[in-house]
């Protein structure tokens, strides 16, 4: 026995550190006396910061090239590392935003932080997976943590109901996904995504079994993304979960789901693009239509943002489906980087808008009805302005970054020759603008109904300001983030040649 048969662990340093520190926090929190419990919060933030720095170092060490380890199951390419950096930052922001909310409701316990960190680990594994089983492992680690986070408020009937629905539908989706994976394994004889792509490219594969598996995999995938017709859980879970958990599930897991879609469909099955792109067209159009129209009818801002998530994920799919045109991958990097940019920007927007819901809440008051936002401008002009920026970004109004995200995706769709799809996307975004602007109207032109104090902590106020202003700054200067997404996507295995 020697140490020489160990795999090279460098690409997975970030995940290893996260696992060790999360386990350490679990134990430390157990033995901390009650008065020092606040320490867990800071330790969790320090953990995420350490993982962030280490991931940057991994990028430096690999020079942005794809590095494989664990027998090709795990890949750290530039897309993986960039998405992981965003995930770490997003989870850290979630912890900061939700601290006061959880403390006021007696949920600020070590379990929340440990579950959040382990869910983050699951996302990182998903993002870096180059093998169907690694992907599934990361997905389950993330999902199981998130189910329990939704149910963390055990005495609330709505939370428990939301967690139950989420769990049952999530388990069903996992089943579909696994079934699809087994089909793909049956057709290609491998679960390794790189090898699978090679086997399919050679062409001697049973096409019926392959497409059958593909259908199930895409169905499982769209459950996790939450696009129509697999969206039913999103409004109920977003609405039923405590606000802090809604903030969590609406942000970082979207990045992981995007990475999962890219790994499966682009890394593994790009030669079947003709088949899966058709499915994505249907799901994208239905999601944008249902999400935007149903959001209009909502009176609860969490439910409204839940339907908005559905429509945004549908929009993101437009980028993914515009990559391959008639077997030609020439425009794929542009299209996929537009989708990646869209996802990252959506996560920032969602972080800000749910962060605002948390900032306005207080003990015994959830700030989740649209009426609670009436006259916000009179009560706190700065927060109202930040919310205005976030809503403009979600609606896609220039000069906020939401506009450029939509522009890049639509540009890719037009370049792929699907003019009608671009027209539908623009029209449905116009429908969506109504309910975002309604929030702005309530804040600026209505009389306040609620007169309670607005007292987010100083850290929340700073972070929220940075988050809201980022919409404007990134909107004026989207170039560097877009370039980063493009380089990241160009490093993907099937596009690198």
């Amino acid at each position: 026995m020697s140490a020489s048969d160990l795999p090279i662990l460098l690409p997975a340093y970030g995940e290893i550190l996260l696992l060790v520190l999360a386990s350490a926090i679990l134990l430390v929190d157990l033995f901390l006396p009650e008065r020092l419990r606040g320490l867990t919060h800071w330790l969790s933030l320090a953990t995420l910061a350490a993982c962030f720095v280490l991931t940057v170092q991994v990028v430096r060490a690999t020079g942005g090239q794809a590095a494989y380890t664990f027998g090709g199951m795990f890949v750290a390419d530039l897309m993986a590392n960039v998405l992981k950096l965003v995930v770490y930052a997003a989870v850290a922001a979630v912890l900061v935003y939700s601290r006061r909310y959880l403390a006021e409701r007696g949920m600020l316990r070590g379990e929340f932080f440990v579950l959040a960190l382990f869910a983050t680990l699951g996302m990182a594994v998903m993002i870096s997976a180059n093998h169907m089983l690694a992907l599934y492992l990361g997905l389950e680690l993330m999902s199981l943590c998130v189910y329990s986070m939704v149910a963390l408020n055990r005495d609330s009937a709505t939370s428990t109901e939301a967690a139950m629905k989420y769990f049952v539908l999530g388990a069903l989706a996992s089943g579909l996904l696994l079934y699809g994976m087994s089909m793909l394994y049956g057709a290609t004889g491998t679960l390794d995504l790189t090898q699978m792509a090679q086997v399919i490219a050679v062409g001697q594969v049973n096409g019926v079994v392959l497409v059958f598996g593909l259908v199930f995999v895409v169905a499982g995938l769209s459950f996790k993304l939450g696009v129509v017709p697999f969206h039913m859980w999103i409004p109920d879970v977003y609405h039923g979960a405590p606000n802090a958990m809604t903030l969590f599930i609406s942000t970082a897991p979207k990045l992981a789901a995007f990475a999962m879609a890219v790994r499966m469909l682009v890394n593994g099955l790009i030669d079947l693009a003709g088949d899966w792109q058709q499915m994505l067209v249907v799901m994208a159009v239905l999601s944008m239509a249902l999400g935007n129209f149903a959001a209009i009818a909502q009176t609860n801002i969490k439910r409204m943002l839940a339907y908005s998530t559905i429509s945004h994920m549908g929009f993101m799919l437009l980028g993914l489906l515009a990559g391959v045109v008639g077997g030609n991958r020439f425009s794929a990097p542009d299209a996929y980087s537009a989708a990646m940019f869209y996802t990252v920007v959506y996560v920032l927007m969602s972080l800000g808008s749910f962060g605002m819901v948390l900032a306005l809440s207080r003990a015994g008051f959830e700030a989740e009805e649209l009426d609670d936002y009436r006259g916000l401008n009179q009560r706190d002009p700065w927060l109202a302005f930040l919310m205005l920026l976030l809503m403009f970004a979600l609606a896609g109004v220039p000069p906020t970054v939401g506009f450029y995200a939509k522009l890049a995706v639509i540009d890719a769709v037009i370049k792929a020759g699907q003019i009608w799809l671009a027209v539908v996307a623009v029209l449905l975004s116009l429908v969506g603008a109504f309910y975002y602007l309604r929030v702005v109207k309530l804040m600026y032109f209505d009389e306040p109904r609620d007169a309670g104090p607005i007292a987010p902590g100083r850290d929340v106020r700073w972070l929220l300001s940075a988050n809201g202003l980022a919409m404007l700054v990134l909107g004026v200067m989207p170039g560097s983030l877009m370039a980063l997404c493009l380089v990241a996507v160009q490093g993907l295995y099937p596009l690198a040649r």
Binding site: M1, S2, D5, L6, L19, S23, L30, F31
Partner: protein, 118 residues
């Protein structure tokens, strides 16, 4: 082709014979004094025939889940132990990491009082 299945046939035959012999031996040699308690079906401390929708202690779930967890751990250890000469230091280290993670979980459940019945 078919002769490949001969061991399966042998297995079935031995299983049938052994099962029959054991029942017969028990019937012939064992003392036979039935009473109502002995003849009633047994099921983990519950009444065997009653309404399924009854209340029982939720702690059963906890114990059952913890049991399954550590039972599975042992199930993983068996194949690992058989091939340990072939898998080298990496295989050894991987299992140690796995066990370390389980120990973390074990410390957590112990300290949280999940193992206390009262």
């Amino acid at each position: 082709m078919l002769e490949n299945y001969f061991p399966v046939l042998m297995f079935i035959a031995v299983g049938l014979v052994l099962g029959g012999v054991l029942l017969a031996v028990g019937r012939i040699l064992a003392p036979h004094k039935p009473d109502p308690k002995k003849l009633s079906p047994y099921e983990c401390g519950f009444e065997a025939f009653e309404d399924a929708r009854m209340k029982f202690d939720v702690r059963y779930y906890l114990v059952a889940i913890l049991f399954i967890l550590f039972d599975l751990e042992i199930a993983f250890l068996f194949p690992w132990a058989v091939v340990i000469p072939d898998i080298g230091f990496f295989g050894y280290a991987a299992m140690m990491v796995f066990l370390a993670i389980l120990v973390v979980g074990f410390v957590y459940e112990w300290k949280k009082g999940a193992l206390e019945w009262e």
